[in-house]
């Protein structure tokens, strides 16, 4: 470690001002270039519903919507999201767009500890916005990047399946 360059630390500390629209509200944050989006959301913006599970894009706990698409907030630096529209579990809850998914997850107990749940919901929301009536296999495939240690997945698949059915019977995506 004798060759360690102190100036690297100074650079790492220097913050940059970034602007996002988070859950419909414009915000500005001072972030270090090395700070990931998930850390920025959780720390600076106190949106702790987005979770960090593996820090390498394998578990899906940190999924958020970025410009309408599900992305891993742990695989992105906050500075890369400058100017983006970001919707987290908190915003999706407030706007009511996933209310039917949340109700069905609740009714079927498609969660236990709840740590994976926000990411599951973001991914399920994305799936149902793309495919109106996914098969159970489609649902399992779509969730293949969402790790849940508690449930065994079946109730989650059941819940998404039921919402897809209800939405299509009520005349399409709400």
């Amino acid at each position: 470690m004798s060759g360690f360059d102190r100036s690297l630390l100074d650079d790492a500390d220097e913050t940059v001002r970034v602007r996002f629209t988070v859950n419909g509200r414009k915000v500005a944050c001072e972030v270090a270039p090395r700070e990931t989006l998930v850390d920025c959301l959780r720390n600076a913006l106190e949106l702790t519903g987005t979770h960090a599970g593996c820090e390498m894009g394998a578990c899906g706990a940190c999924l958020v919507q970025l410009d309408g698409q599900a992305v891993h907030a742990c695989l992105m630096f906050a500075v890369q999201a400058d100017g983006a529209r970001i919707d987290t579990i908190e915003g999706l809850t407030e706007s009511g767009v996933i209310a039917d998914l949340q109700a069905e997850f609740h009714r079927r107990n498609a969660l236990q500890c709840g740590f994976c749940t926000p990411g599951m919901l973001v991914n399920a929301h994305e799936l149902l916005s793309q495919v109106t009536r996914p098969s159970r296999k489609d649902i399992r495939d779509a969730l293949s990047g969402n790790y849940c240690r508690c449930t065994g997945y079946e109730a989650i698949v059941d819940a998404i399946d039921a919402v897809a059915k209800a939405r299509s019977e009520s005349g399409g995506v709400t």
Partner: protein, 791 residues
């Protein structure tokens, strides 16, 4: 064998109803309050420099540059923390002859596994703390490594603990009946050696702790993501010399635990010490690689076992040698030998035979500790037993169902004592076997299997019977000297507005503790569940108890709540009787109203009783003191454990070209006694099965010869994901325990207990035409191809 009807079976009872968990809505809205979310004023962040060596002497530590970095508040070594924290030793008295070296938060002069925390840095952010770690220089001198079971046993090989004669932590033997004689006269003997890889809990939220020491109040508050807050209150008090009443442990929402979060971790003790040294809150959340190298691992057993049978297929005897390597220390305070102990005691548990011999040898090695994780010992005991039963069936030309039907302890033959010394109150193997046979459409599956084999498609069908240990009494840890409670406590109050608050010592990790406790309270008091608030997980608020481990929440916590509620109900009715000038026995409570017991005519709401008792006690007869808060404790008596049972089945397909296994369907028939909430029980079974399937097919902590964990990330350590997992069909048989009013036993480990045995049997069934066998878990594609001699 359905349970006889009791007062718990009223038509409007909450017992036995699938009601959703009241507290789950917060989690669905992203409003969980996990310890990793917590931020306190003046809070600092800890990070740890870890050993790159599996075994080495620490020659020197130079932390000068780290201490000088802007934003760093403290750099602490083993010696700094040893001044304020007394060492701990992971042994229990009832494991005779067990040894383990004393442990400290950070080592003084020697590291014993790769990944062990060596130096702590506390800084204004985690990032700064990690920057500082880069500036610390440690000189190590390599020591010889003990990397596995074989090198641990080698005579004259390296020793993990200097001064000890060998690397044995614990040896134990069971000997019952006349085993040698039984084998000598047996018509058939089957024998196999089975190995079980290390795996780990991989909770989605890693370990998290915020320790907050306030020197002005001499008070330690620890926000700790744990199942067992009272255990940690006791340990922090004793090891840091702080009076118990000045230690508060708060366990809020926890992102998964499964037994992994009830052990003492070096980093957690260090963080408590760091907050004492600094007089400020200090937070530590393990990152994923840290979880892999420092969370307890589990299993890592190699079992040689044989079974003797008579000519008709009656099991006569079993003889077992279980070797397991646990790490360099035994884990504190529950030890690392419980798994092996349960392996040798659970082997053969479903079956009626008298001759049993077992040897357990628990060894040290230079890896992170193994210890209790969901279904401690069960998957190993079950896989060993059930594999031998299948091998015996094949040898005798019996069907797997037939040999089990012939040998399980009959449902009407209880109570029974197993040859390993376990006392079974009442189990239901016959009923479960019969139910599984129907539910699987076993004959249909066999016909389909035969048909598909003709076309080169190799399906396997496996079944595995199991016995699960639940509702542990003080015989589990208390007798060994551990201050781990087997009783639970509840404080239950009727509030002034007529609602009910229940503070209870069992804790919630998402399995639905708060839901079932509120069901029991609502049911027993006679009011709607939404008027019951359950509070858990805070040692300053909830009474002392064992909390949640070894499947005791429903059986012991539930009974505690039931008895507390009955006491409160009596007190409410006593006041109601005075107000209404009635006999207490003539009154009942239904849906929050005091009613005439006979006619059910409403007399007055319990809110009115609360109003009078709290605000107009002057209108009650002189001498009346209303007791609308009741505290009650319950410890299990009678049988030392409430054993449960069940059987699993599965159908899978083995691709003999690639070695890949596709799970098609999984089945379980399970008997956890009285079912309080069927939906939550089913979810426990499904979740448990999927953890067992992960172990069976994917999960293994893989180490290099130099003791380095080589797959410590979620990309390299494979866990079961949605697309690989099958749908799971569930049925119940209910045999309530007579030791409690509630009759509930545990169900959280039943799924994990037999899933890997079931898969092992199914894979071997699929490979029958090739004369290839698998005897190692996880069953990876490589192992399949090797067995097929195609790799």
């Amino acid at each position: 064998m359905s349970a006889p009807l009791t007062s718990l079976d009223r038509p409007n009872s909450y017992i036995g109803r699938s009601v959703p968990r009241p507290n789950a809505k917060r989690l669905l809205a992203g409003r969980g309050r996990y310890v990793s979310d917590l931020r306190l004023p003046r809070m600092l962040y800890a990070a740890f420099l870890r050993s790159p060596h599996a075994h080495a002497k620490i020659i020197s530590i130079d932390a000068g540059r780290a201490s000088a970095l802007e934003g760093v508040h403290l750099v602490a070594t083993g010696a700094d923390l040893a001044k304020i924290c007394s060492p701990w030793t992971g042994t229990l008295d009832h494991f005779k002859g067990m040894i383990s070296a004393p442990q400290l938060p950070l080592p003084l002069d020697r590291v014993v596994w790769a990944g062990q925390a060596v130096v702590a840095v506390v800084a204004e952010s985690r990032a700064i703390a990690e920057d500082a770690l880069e500036l610390i220089e440690i000189d190590y001198e390599d020591l010889p490594i003990v990397a596995d079971i074989d090198s641990a046993r080698e005579g004259g090989g390296p020793l993990i603990n200097p001064g000890s004669a060998n690397n044995v932590c614990f040896r134990s033997q069971l000997d019952n009946g006349s085993v040698d004689d039984a084998f000598a006269h047996a018509a058939h003997v089957v024998e196999e050696e089975l190995s079980f890889g290390r795996h780990t809990a991989v909770t989605l939220e890693p370990r998290a702790i915020v320790s907050d020491y306030d020197p002005s109040a001499e008070m330690l508050t620890v926000h700790h993501a744990t199942q067992t807050p009272y255990q940690f209150q006791d340990l922090y008090s004793r090891h840091f010399g702080i009076p118990e009443a000045r230690v508060r442990v708060i366990a809020t929402d926890i992102g998964g635990s499964f037994g992994m979060k009830l052990h003492v971790y070096h980093e957690d003790m260090a963080v408590v010490g760091l907050s004492i040294l600094l007089g400020r809150p200090v937070k530590y959340v393990a990152d994923r690689i840290e979880s892999f190298v420092s969370d307890i691992h589990a299993r890592d057993h190699r079992v040689r076992a044989r079974m003797a049978l008579d000519a008709k297929g009656e099991i006569l005897a079993m003889d077992v040698l279980d070797l397991t390597a646990i790490g360099a220390f035994s884990t504190y305070p529950r030890t690392s030998v419980v798994e092996g102990n349960q392996v040798i005691r659970l082997i053969g548990a479903p079956y009626r035979f008298k001759n049993y011999h077992a040897t357990l040898e628990v060894l040290f090695q230079n890896k992170v500790q193994t210890s209790q994780y969901r279904a401690v010992g069960h998957p190993i005991a079950c896989a060993v037993t059930e594999r031998l039963v299948d091998m015996a069936a094949a040898k005798l030309g019996l069907d797997p169902f037939a040999i089990r039907a012939q040998n399980v302890i009959a449902d009407d033959a209880y109570p029974q004592t197993s040859p390993t010394g376990y006392r079974f109150e009442a189990l239901s193997h016959q009923a479960c076997l019969k139910r599984l046979h129907e539910m699987m459409d076993y004959d249909g599956l066999r016909a389909e299997q035969a048909e598909l084999r003709k076309g080169g498609i190799y399906r396997g069908i496996g079944i595995a019977a199991f016995v699960e240990i639940t509702n542990p009494s003080p015989a589990f840890y208390g007798v060994g000297g551990a201050r781990i409670s087997s009783q639970d406590g509840a404080i239950i109050s009727l509030t002034p507005s007529g609602e009910v608050r229940c503070l209870i010592s069992v804790t919630e990790q998402g399995q639905g503790t708060e839901a079932i406790i509120s069901q029991i309270v609502a049911d027993q008091l006679g009011l709607a569940q939404e008027h019951v608030k359950v509070i858990t997980g805070d040692t300053e608020v909830t009474p002392h108890g064992g909390a949640t481990w070894a499947c005791r929440g429903a059986g012991i916590g539930g009974e505690t709540a039931l008895q507390a509620t009955r006491a409160l109900r009596r007190n409410i009715l006593e006041i109601a009787a005075l107000i209404l000038q009635e006999q207490q026995s003539a009154l009942d409570i239904i849906d929050g109203e005091v009613v005439d017991a006979g006619t059910r005519n409403q007399r007055m709401p319990i809110s009115e009783i609360a109003r009078i008792a709290y605000f107009r006690s002057d209108t009650l007869p002189p001498g009346t003191q209303a007791q609308l808060t009741v505290s009650h404790h319950f410890a299990p008596q009678g049988y030392p454990f409430a054993f449960t049972n069940g059987i699993q089945g599965c159908s899978l397909e083995v691709d003999v070209e690639t070695g890949f296994i596709k799970m098609l369907k999984h089945f379980i028939v399970e008997d956890c006694g009285r079912v309080i909430n069927p939906m939550l029980v089913d979810e426990q079974l499904r979740g448990g099965i999927v953890q067992g399937l992960g172990a069976a097919l994917f999960e293994e902590c893989r180490y290099s010869e130099t003791g380095q964990l080589v797959n410590g990330s979620l990309a390299d350590y494979l866990v079961p994901m949605p697309m690989e997992m099958p749908d799971i069909v569930i049925a119940h048989v209910e045999t309530p325990t007579a030791d409690t009013e509630l009759g509930a036993k545990g169900c959280g480990e039943a799924g994990t207990a037999a899933a890997s045995a079931c898969v092992l049997n199914a894979v071997n069934d699929a490979l029958t035409p090739f004369d290839a066998t698998i005897n190692s878990i996880p069953i990876t594609p490589t192992k399949i191809l090797k067995a097929l001699k195609r790799f």
